[in-house]
């Protein structure tokens, strides 16, 4: 069995790329980076690798056990079945789409995934803002069908590693648009900027990992418009650079909501969408978008107050 972790080999590349983007930022967009934000993002990245080492064992155990019940068998030398690799990569990316979508639509999953969105910046260091608490969700269940189909857990892990590496470079404002054919099929900086945006029109859109086709197939695709400045982060921005607060704030919020809620609503605070409350006192992404859409109707021609500050929208050059 090959013992290979693509992300480990990619780390020097990540560092060089962040350095390069910092240089770009120095001359073109000094506001694209903020030292404290960068420090928090990078600390998130380091912490997530430690958390993965400490808590990832359970998922590995489940996968190895489930592999014994596989439907198809690629044989003892499964890594030598060449066509299994692209197939596994494709199916793993489909899995990523759904686990990511669940990460935004189920508060339990969001508690772990919100970390990745908690920066108000969008640069390559943001890509390294990875979860510390993913092992405490049911995200591993999304990979079980692949294991049961017969893909070895190591093959899935390697494909997942390459998937993660691909997603690194799309966290940038330095690239405006890729060629049209590329934008049509692949996830790109433009598509993923939409995903990280808090503008009502962009909320809960573009969940794709590598291939944007999943969003187009499942009705969650939203193209980036040049008419509106993108705002990054989360609906309720943290306003804090405290690393531990950034890691655990949503877990604390969710658990305190469950604690205070009437019994019949407790489970909903775990499994319903972020922002849901039993008394309707908070906004969800759906209610925010609905309210925004209502204001866009011809009878209510709200102006667009942010259009003129969009650095991404300037012509067709990189922002």
């Amino acid at each position: 069995m090959p013992d290979f972790s693509p992300t480990q080999y990619a780390i020097p590349l990540f560092v060089i790329a962040v350095l390069a983007e910092m240089l770009w930022s120095r001359f073109r967009r000094p506001d694209a980076y903020e030292p404290k934000d960068t420090l928090v993002s990078l600390a998130f990245g380091l912490g997530s690798t430690i958390a993965g080492t400490l808590f990832g064992g359970f998922a590995l155990y489940v996968f190895i056990e489930a592999y014994e019940y596989r439907v198809f068998d690629f044989g003892a030398e499964w890594w030598s079945v060449w066509w299994a690799w692209p197939l596994c990569f494709m199916l793993d990316d489909l899995k990523y789409y759904w686990v990511h979508r669940a990460g935004h639509r189920i508060r339990w999953m969001w508690a772990a995934h919100v970390n990745h969105h908690s920066s108000q910046h969008y640069n390559l260091s943001t890509a390294l803002r990875q979860t510390w608490t993913g092992s405490f969700t049911f995200g591993l269940l999304f990979a079980l069908p692949l294991v049961l189909l017969g893909f070895h857990p190591a093959m899935i892990a390697i494909c997942g590693g390459f998937n993660l590496i691909y997603q690194f470079w799309i966290h940038t404002e330095a690239i405006n648009r890729m060629p049209r054919w590329f934008e049509a099929v692949m996830n790109t900086p433009s598509h993923h900027r939409v995903h990280h945006a808090t503008n009502p029109r962009y909320l809960d859109r573009n969940y794709a990992g590598v291939f944007i086709i999943w969003d187009k197939m499942f009705g969650t695709f939203e193209p980036e418009t040049d008419e509106e400045r993108i705002r990054y982060g989360i609906v309720k921005q943290l306003g804090s650079f405290n690393l531990l607060w950034s890691v655990f704030h949503e877990w604390i919020g969710m658990l305190s909501d469950i604690w205070r809620a009437p019994w019949k609503h407790k489970l909903s605070y775990l499994l319903r969408e972020p922002g849901w409350t039993h008394d309707g006192s908070r906004d969800t992404s759906d209610t925010i978008r609905a309210r925004w859409l209502a204001r866009q109707s011809p009878a209510n021609p709200a102006s667009n107050p942010v259009a003129d500050r969009n650095p991404i929208a300037d012509g067709h050059e990189a922002a």
Binding site: I11, V15, V18, L19, M22, L23, S25, R26, P30, D31, A32, Y33, E34, P35, K36, D37, T38, L39, L42, A43, G45, L46, T49, I50, T53, Q120, H121, S125, T198, P200, R231, G233, K236, Q237, L238, G239, S240, F241, N242, W245, H249, I288, R291, W292, R295, P305, V306
Partner: protein
């Protein structure tokens, strides 16, 4: 002395992280974000809470913070966070204190914190803001 490879990787990574963050500071990335005027404060308020239309604005002369009130009586505090801005619609947990020409608003959220706002005009208007904030959640505002 033999160092465990994982510990070595951790130490190198930690050094690299601080080096990159320090480099960002040395390169003066981030800039100095300020709220230029009341219009910008209003725009930021709409970004904090979509559809928030501010009718009254108290903007700190430094441009680091602002208080805004809408027609529903909701009061929002916006403060600088790094080179961005973050805001909260204040709740009954918020507190405000007025000193000479200055108001300090505690959002009531420990991690979000608070902000000072100075006012060039007579401090009476700051008292009005402070009273409104300290009354939030009381029956008369319900």
């Amino acid at each position: 002395m033999e160092i465990h490879p994982q510990l070595l990787i951790f130490a190198i990574s930690l050094i690299a992280i601080f080096a990159l963050a320090a480099l960002a500071k040395v390169m003066r990335l981030g800039g100095d974000a300020r709220i230029a005027d009341e219009d910008e404060a209003r725009r930021l308020a709409d970004e904090v809470s979509d559809g928030f239309v501010a009718e009254q604005v108290a903007l700190d002369p430094s441009g680091c913070a602002a208080l805004l009130k809408d027609a529903e009586g909701r009061i929002m505090l916006i403060k600088r966070h790094g080179n961005q801005f973050a805001g909260r619609i204040l709740t009954k947990d918020a507190k405000a204190e007025v000193a000479t020409g200055t108001i300090y608003i505690d959002s009531g959220e420990r991690q979000f914190g608070g902000a000072h706002i100075e006012h060039d005009e007579a401090s009476v208007s700051l008292s009005i803001w402070a009273d409104a904030i300290n009354r939030l959640g009381r029956p008369e505002d319900a």
